[in-house]
């Protein structure tokens, strides 16, 4: 899943390790989320959302385009 985590982190001038500390996950986990190789659980997504003060859908993009391509 695409996301804005790397941009948000850079705006705070945090390293991956520092963000990991804020979220209580490893630096490797932060890297996996940023590169879209791992989708965080809902509790972790909420934690990220609260940390950066932005709604989940502003940070994560699941590719849903509003049902214009036939999706309900």
């Amino acid at each position: 899943m695409k996301n804005q985590l790397k941009v948000l982190r850079a705006m705070r001038n945090w390293s991956q390790a520092e963000l990991g500390e804020h979220l209580d996950v490893s630096r490797q986990a932060v890297n996996a989320i940023e590169t879209g190789k791992y989708d965080p659980s809902l509790p972790l997504a909420f934690k990220i959302s609260r940390l950066f003060g932005q709604p989940i859908e502003e940070i994560f993009d699941d590719g849903f385009d509003g049902g214009q391509n036939g999706e309900a």
């Binding site: 941009v7 850079a10 705006m11 001038n13 945090w14 390293s15 991956q16 390790a17 520092e18 990991g20 500390e21 209580d24 996950v25 490893s26 630096r27 490797q28 986990a29 890297n31 996996a32 989320i33 940023e34 190789k37 791992y38 965080p40 659980s41 972790l44």
Partner: protein
């Protein structure tokens, strides 16, 4: 992402996966263990042939083994230096995770050493001290069996529970779970396949230790891939 300060640039450069480095460190470590085993085997053969001074070829073989160990040690050192975020403070979870992994690795090393040196009358014809004696089916003395049973029945479940609940994060738990799925399916497919092929006289009798090792290897490989890809 404009106007990046130098400090921020440094932090962004310190990104990415450490998977490749850990893979090289692991492979080089295994290479060192196997080369040391080869040196022990070579010297054992030499002693069995009467000992004495090594021939020129023997010295050249030992020097080659030494060069391999030195090269692999250098590879480990280089890859440890290249680890991203090396030296940065780790979270409590990461520290605990690292300590448990290192602790279990050391315990495994000690157990392997004890197994390789204490088997009585090796059933596979491998002498005590050889690497293959670790996985042999030779009898073991009770003084070795009892501590091993204690480790597997008491220590391992406690450490596993602690590791899952306190040390790893959800990404690693996910990688571990996926590894378990792949290993379980491989077991469900390969174990009866081997059994049927044995009954059809195509393969030797199924070997429990080999099945255990294949299961563990698949689980570990998938865990590693999912965690560090």
């Amino acid at each position: 992402m404009t106007d990046l300060t130098e400090a921020r640039m440094e932090k962004l450069e310190d990104e990415g996966s450490n998977g490749r480095n850990f893979l090289w460190i692991t492979l080089a470590g295994l290479g060192i263990v196997m080369t040391l085993g080869a040196i022990a085997g070579f010297m054992g053969e030499h002693q069995a042939d009467g000992g004495g001074e090594l021939s020129g070829v023997g010295v050249a073989v030992l020097i080659s083994f030494g060069a391999i160990v030195a090269g692999l040690s250098y590879a480990i050192w280089r890859n440890v230096k290249k680890l991203k975020s090396n030296g940065e403070p780790m979270t409590k979870r990461e520290k605990l995770n690292r300590n448990i992994i290192v602790g279990l690795g050391l315990l495994g090393g000690v157990m392997g050493f004890v197994l390789s040196t204490s088997s009585i009358g090796n059933a596979d014809g491998n002498g005590p001290g050889s690497l293959s004696a670790i996985f042999s089916s030779g009898p073991l003395p009770l003084t070795v069996v009892l501590p091993f049973v204690f480790i597997w029945v008491v220590i391992m479940p406690v450490v596993a529970w602690f590791w899952h609940t306190r040390a790893i994060d959800e990404q690693e738990a996910n990688a571990y779970r996926d590894g378990g799925y792949y290993a379980a399916y491989a077991f469900l497919i390969l174990a009866p396949l081997w059994w049927v092929l044995w009954r059809g006289d195509f393969l030797p009798e199924p070997d429990g230790v080999a099945i255990y090792l294949i299961f563990s290897l698949i689980w570990s490989a998938v865990w590693f891939w999912k965690k560090y890809r």
